[in-house]
Point group: C2
Chain length 202, copies 2
């Protein structure tokens, strides 16, 4: 039994379940190992700390979420990017609950483990680049006001629209897309003009 009775993925999966069921604060090293019937030693053999586990868990989901978002942005499909949040939540309900219902700080409060710092920084930079690109497309400039609008319409509003449903662990209904679309067209009408005509039908 010396060759891997457990592996990293199992610990991550157990932790994910616990986050979804009870929130990140209730994920303790003991609760994870108990659920897996693994000894503590095995956990600390694979993860440097609790923060390393929760950080990796968060980063995994954040990167997965980002993929489709970036694809829409790269295609200059602003509305598609805004609607990516409910779409992704429907496809990956568990991941969406984990990522969108809690904040990054709920997973790792203080300094991040050095192994993850680079990943987190890159993640943040990609988001910022995406917002910049969209701000230029939609508002013709990238000043602080335009960036603020971009974040509002691409991230904050979709998140707010989706959250109440995730709290009940249910997929966001079509109404959510309608709310996001209306808001998008009210605030960034120009971004919609050249592209993504199919998403606009209603």
């Amino acid at each position: 039994m010396a060759r891997s009775a457990f592996d990293n993925a199992q610990f991550l999966a157990a932790a994910r379940q616990l986050v979804i069921e009870r929130g990140p604060a209730m994920v303790t090293v003991d609760s994870v190992t108990q659920r897996l019937k693994a000894p503590k030693g095995s956990f600390y053999y694979r993860f440097a700390s609790r923060d390393a586990l929760l950080g990796e868990l968060w980063l995994q989901s954040a990167v997965a979420y980002q993929e489709g978002f970036m694809a829409a942005i790269d295609a200059d499909d602003g509305l598609g990017a805004a609607l990516h949040t409910p779409a992704w939540a429907r496809e990956h309900l568990d991941d969406a609950c984990l990522l969108l219902l809690y904040s990054r700080e709920d997973f790792v409060a203080g300094d991040w483990p050095s192994a993850l710092r680079k990943g987190v920084r890159e993640q943040a930079e990609r988001v910022k680049d995406a917002l910049t690109r969209f701000a230029r497309l939609a508002f013709g400039a990238t000043g602080s006001g335009q960036m603020r609008r971009a974040a509002f319409v691409l991230l904050e509003v979709p998140l707010a629209a989706v959250k109440p449903h995730l709290k009940r662990r249910e997929a966001p209904p079509p109404l959510v897309d309608e709310l996001i679309r209306s808001t998008f067209q009210a605030i960034a009408p120009r971004a919609d003009a050249g592209r993504a005509r199919k998403s606009t039908v209603a």
Copy 2:
């Protein structure tokens, strides 16, 4: 020195400061009493538990926030209710950080102390009644879709618009009002017709 070296308000004030500086999770009985240089006994003489303290703190702010919100709703001023969130945040930055940056569950996780349960229930009911009244005004009905829209436009969007600024402990700039107003008009145009013309100027 038997007559009150400390009183309830001081404990609540100390806890409030701690919430604002470090979040509700970092408010421990020890940290509160240390900040006040009060002994633990004095704390437990006045509060039944940590939950009693944090619950009262949350409820205080929630009721204070609600006052202006309800006033706008009672006047059928939907836009005014939506704009109440940034307005109140400007006037009461500390309370806004406490109430809007965290969720009720961050203050009291499980069951609420019986002394507060009634207050919390009434608070929730008032919000629900307000949303119902607004849904009828704005959408002509109070089905689940209309209620969802009402919550979105009166609470979720204003909260989302204000949050990034509260995280930096700064007052929401005028742009926030503009974002909320645009969203409101896109989603509940009818609610604006009869009233609150002065708020609509742009």
